[in-house]
Amino acid sequence: MSTLLYSDVEEDLRASVRQALDRPAGGDAWRALATGIGCAGLAVPEEFGGAGASWREAAVVAEEVGRAAAPVPWLGSVLGTAALTTAAVGTAAVDTAAPLSAGARDLLPAVASGDLLAVLVLPLSTPPGAPVPATVRADGHALTGSVTTVADAQGAGVLIVPTPDGLYAVDAAHAEQTPVTALDQTRPLSTVTFSSAQATRLGDGAMAGAAWAAALRIGAAVLAGEQLGVAEWCLSSTVDYVKTRYQFARPVGSFQAVKHRLAQLWVDVTQARAVARYAAGCVADDDPDAAVAASLAQAHCGPVAVRAAEECVQLHGGIGFTWEHRAHWYLKRAKAAAIALGTATQHRAALGDLVSLPPN
């Protein structure tokens, strides 16, 4: 098992990301992140122009994205890049005899540079272990079908489309996107529709399955980092608030019921940090325990982020219920993230299978 602590390199990366996301609105935060800091290529092997770091570092980026509730397509980018990397270099954890994908290798340099945002076309609510959906069908090099609640696709340059028959890449201009009114306005959703859309075939059905499974697993681990960041912001901003908000001539944070709730939340956030680090390390190392670690992370970090955000709203009192205060962005992001890539309940069910605790 790799360390659960952060390395100095990771702390430097965190500082850079935090600075980029702190910029006044208007600047292109995504460009600063993807190209400026080089996040887009973090987990891409150096041979394809990437930084040759790993999903551990990607999870640190996610923590900062979560802490800022930043409307940047980091999760979409991670899912797309995970699918492409898997197609390009394979994965030990997924047993596939599929040959490596030349098409994916061709796409990766542009993705790694941050110039091309590749997004995986999957419903954001896809639970762990779900098979590749059959809602899109290939007819030669033309795709037809529709996928709902796809995250971050609106800024994508290329759409990576897994189908039971094969893995495809479609120029985003060839697909139709209908925006969905999302609960979490910081992560845009759309319905992506292909009408005989021209596609590049990246691999066969087995490769599609491998890329899909790896992306779900890596996405779950990285999303846990985001949830950790959301929880940390909610906890620390609430702690700050109750220290300075006076009621009954005392800081609200001096009331024991408030103190105990925040202490208990801190315990859970502390656990979330360990769990999220473990999951990031496992997917980074393609560890045999990666599926367990990813589902564990979603089962734990999703609910912790939601509770942190709910406590944040509640303990801010009236102001936390207003549009004006930032708390609501975190609440919505936490709740939507708890559904994204499977709910905690679904991950617990998946864990039961993985660790031989069958339901019946």
Binding site: P123, L124, S125, T181, H328, A336, I339, A340
Partner: protein
């Protein structure tokens, strides 16, 4: 008065005022004048001096006859909070002036109590009222301050208002209770958008607003005591009749479960049933409280019902979103509106989830309700207090 006699009076009234052939406002005014509005109010003020228990039968008889009502959901603050306070603490003149148009809905009321710096600690409020002379040369008060969480302020004519008239006294002692005419100059009502995207509430800025002394309810410095009538009525209001099983959010969730079998999963059924049990337990507890009140057994369970309602609403709506999966990621509409009341029924599950967050804040936070239960019901000792004998102006804040 026996039930028979009362329903006889309603019958007589309906015979004399055909609901179909009478203007709505004329009908409501006549109903008020006949003492059939709120029958527990005194004769001459819309009532017959009966017990509250007599009201549901009267309302039901009017509803059955197709009579117009006074849209009670939209004028709830007037009916539930202002009216009992005016009745108890107002002068005869004040009662005569305000109660009739309040009940008919001609004049909408709102409440100017909470402030940005005085939420749970309402008695810390800082809106100032100083003695002055009005445009017409009469004695009265000049009010300055900011109020918040004011529903209906944008439609209201009148507000009940708490303001500080003596900052040198401890906080509970220097407050006076006023009625504020919102058409007076210096009243600025601004919508306060909430996390649902709507603005049910307003911020109200008061700048040199004139209030005649005749609009004072109770004595100078007696405002906190007067406000207890208002607040008690806010917290006790748990609806009139019995609530059927699966009313409220649990009903929406149960329908979803029944109608969409594809959402069911092995891990969710027990969680669903936990919520169903909690909803039913809450419903029966509220039913029992109503029986206690009807039997004249004063119960402190009102705070418990409100506390449990907020907890349940939040749990049910949170669970529903996760159950819905893809649909739980969506929202119906972020448009900024200014509704007159909460629409649990017709908005989306996402709205219910967000709006329910307010249930544990508005009308007494869940934390304050727990304090009330702990101290007033269980008799647990108060915490050490730093604000009892300190002049308001010297309180740490």
């Amino acid at each position: 008065m026996q039930t028979d006699e009362l329903t006889g009076r309603v019958r007589e009234f309906l015979a004399a005022h055909d609901p179909a052939g009478t203007q709505r406002l004329d009908f409501l005014r006549a109903r008020f004048d006949a003492g059939l509005a709120w029958v527990s109010f005194p004769v001459g003020l819309g009532g017959l001096g009966l017990s509250r228990a007599a009201q549901p039968a009267v309302d039901a008889a009017f509803a059955a006859a197709g009579a117009p009502d006074n849209d009670p959901l939209s004028i709830g603050i007037g009916l539930g909070m202002a009216a009992p306070t005016i009745l108890r603490h107002g002068t005869d003149e004040q009662r005569q002036r305000w109660l009739r148009p309040l009940w008919t809905g001609e004049e909408v009321w709102c409440q100017l109590f909470s402030e940005p710096g005085a939420g749970s600690d309402l008695a810390a409020l800082g809106t100032r009222a100083v003695r002055g002379t009005g445009p017409d040369g009469t004695d009265g008060w000049i009010v300055n301050g900011q109020k918040v969480w004011t529903s209906m302020a944008h439609q209201a004519r009148w507000a009940i208002l708490l303001a500080r008239t003596d900052p040198d006294l401890p906080k509970h002692q220097g407050i006076t209770y006023f009625v504020c005419d919102l058409t007076h100059p210096g009243v600025d009502v601004r919508p306060l958008r909430q996390i649902t995207g709507e603005a049910e509430f307003n911020e109200v800025f008061l700048t040199d607003v004139w209030i005649p002394d005749g609009y004072r309810l109770g004595g100078v410095g007696e405002g906190w005591r007067v406000a207890q009538t208002t607040l008690m009525n806010e917290r006790v209001a748990i609806g009139g009749g019995a609530v059927p099983r699966e009313a409220g959010m649990i009903g929406a969730l149960s329908r979803t479960w029944r109608e969409r079998p594809e959402l069911r999963g092995p891990g969710t059924h027990d969680a669903l049933m936990k919520l169903w049990v909690a909803a039913e337990a809450g419903r029966l507890a509220a039913t029992r409280l109503r029986e206690q009140l009807a039997a004249g057994q004063p119960g402190a369970e009102g705070s418990a019902v409100k506390y449990a309602f907020a907890r349940l609403n939040q749990e049910v709506s949170g669970f529903e979103l996760e159950l819905l999966g893809a649909d739980g990621l969506t929202y119906d509409d972020w448009t900024m509106r200014r509704p007159s009341h909460v629409d649990w029924e017709n908005r989306s599950p996402g709205y219910r989830y967000l709006r329910a967050k307010g249930n544990s804040i508005e009308g007494g936070t869940s934390e304050i309700l727990c304090n009330i239960i702990a101290e007033r019901v269980l008799g647990l000792p108060p915490e050490p207090r730093a604000d009892k004998d300190v002049a308001w102006k010297d309180l740490p804040r």
